[in-house]
């Protein structure tokens, strides 16, 4: 079995983003999706600090520190892009105007609960940013994460042990092993990496999984 690397995961997520979609990519791993968006599709990237139609990073030397993304990195604006204030920006999310947001996660539960903002550790300083607004706002919430923690524990869990970002908000999970949909009946495996039997994925995940006729994960 070959686990996907981060760029392969990003490319896999990007494939599911349709022409014309308005998308917010969370900080961290999801940011990589921008590098893999199909060139033949027009996709509008939203940034919560007030940008619609965000473009790629500028060439070195052309950075503008008043044109940044949510991760505070310099970006560019596409022709036709727009700026707006924070209340409008989050109104776009909360109001259901974003088609997709892609978020990283510490844990996702079988019901689609998301934990991605705080470890809850006694020494950790909490910071939430826009994660909770994105989780409940976008029409579809995609989570993109490694299947396991560095210690080998499954990040797909019966019940999140980390503090929640949102309840029953995740629609689809992309990991380095599989694509899973959160359905009322449970987690439905859509795709798996080559060479990974369903039973082995179920064992590695540690929660009940549903299967459908298999497709290769490529």
């Amino acid at each position: 079995m070959d686990r996907l690397n981060r760029d392969q995961m990003a490319a896999r997520v990007a494939r599911d983003i349709a022409d014309g979609a308005v998308v917010n990519l969370g900080i961290g791993l999801p940011t990589l999706v921008a590098n893999h968006l199909p060139k033949d599709r027009e996709i509008l990237l939203h940034s919560e600090n007030g940008v619609l139609g965000m473009g790629p990073a500028p060439a070195p030397g052309l950075e503008d520190h008043e044109l940044i993304n949510a991760g505070k990195q310099p970006v560019t604006l596409l022709r036709g892009g727009s700026f707006f204030h924070h209340a409008d920006s989050f109104g776009m999310m909360r109001g259901g105007h974003l088609d997709i947001c892609v978020l990283g996660a510490f844990q996702v539960s079988v019901r689609g609960d998301l934990a991605n903002w705080h470890t809850g550790g006694p020494d950790a300083i909490p910071a939430v940013g826009g994660a909770m607004d994105l989780a409940i706002g976008a029409k579809q919430v995609f989570v993109m994460m490694e299947h396991h923690t560095k210690n080998g524990e499954s990040k797909i869990v019966e019940r999140c042990t980390y503090p929640l970002t949102g309840m029953e908000c995740v629609n689809r999970i992309y990991t380095d092993l599989a694509v899973l949909d959160v359905t009322p009946a449970g987690l439905l495996v859509r795709e798996m990496v080559a060479g990974l039997p369903f039973d082995e994925l179920a064992r590695l995940t540690g929660v009940p999984l549903l299967r459908e006729p298999q497709r290769a994960y490529a």
Binding site: E48, S89, G91, D123, I125, G129, G166
Partner: protein
């Protein structure tokens, strides 16, 4: 005649009292009114409650205000960053109070204050630790959390261009919290890179109408602390 232009940053921050709630625009350093913050540090007001998205970056601007021990409480969404060492140390020492608010709730609570809304129900944070103890209600099958406005005694905002009536336009993502903070405070002071004659700002494109602004001071781009640092 209406003339909101003041001649110095000192005049722009005059009257900020101990214990005041001060809204400070900016998302990281983009839109942060660094010259007004420096003037506030020099002015000396203490026991402040600060409203900002972050809790200071590096050692300048908001971080310097924190370091000078002028801030009793900060209301923000994202305090912890790679360069938030000043806040981190104060927080770990128990020397600053933190009210952590999801970014969209922060924005809407500020907007609500400026728009005269008494409170509002929002789906954000329902079922999470950040909604603990708050009133909830199910509306048409969905759960919401009751959130209250955040009013400012003062707002410090950075704009690209302003006129003597206080009309403002911003630059790119430096706009962020500026327009809603300007409306949410009793006294809004603006540092503008350029001050223009009445009529020069396209009325169709004015972002903050002057009604929300009390004071404007011109701070040219060249002497901004953050642009010097960024260069």
């Amino acid at each position: 005649m209406i003339n909101k232009i003041v001649e110095s940053v000192e005049a722009a921050v005059a009257g900020i009292h101990d214990g005041a709630t001060v809204m400070i625009g900016g998302f990281g350093s983009a839109g942060q009114p660094a010259a007004l913050i420096d003037a506030l540090i020099a002015q000396g007001a203490k026991d402040l409650t600060i409203v900002n998205n972050n809790a200071g970056n590096g050692e300048s601007g908001l971080a310097a205000l924190l370091k000078a021990r002028r801030v009793r409480k900060i209301i923000c969404s994202f305090p912890r960053q790679t360069d938030s060492q000043v806040f981190d140390a104060l927080y770990r020492a128990g020397e600053i109070e933190l009210e952590l608010v999801p970014q969209g709730n922060l924005a809407e609570r500020i907007r609500a204050a400026g728009a005269g809304i008494g409170a509002f129900f929002t789906p954000t944070a329902y079922g999470t630790d950040l909604a603990k103890g708050k009133e909830t209600r199910q509306i048409e099958g969905r759960w919401y959390v009751l959130e209250y406005p955040i009013h400012g005694d003062f707002a410090l905002v950075k704009a690209a261009r302003a006129d003597r009536w206080g009309n403002l336009v911003y630059r790119k993502t430096a706009r962020n919290f500026g327009p809603i903070m300007a409306a949410a405070a009793k006294c809004t002071a603006v540092q503008a890179e350029e001050v223009v004659e009445l009529g020069e700002l396209d009325p169709e494109a004015i972002v903050t109408p002057g009604i929300y602004v009390k004071r404007v001071v011109r701070v040219t781009r060249e002497i901004r602390a953050d642009s010097v640092k960024a260069a």
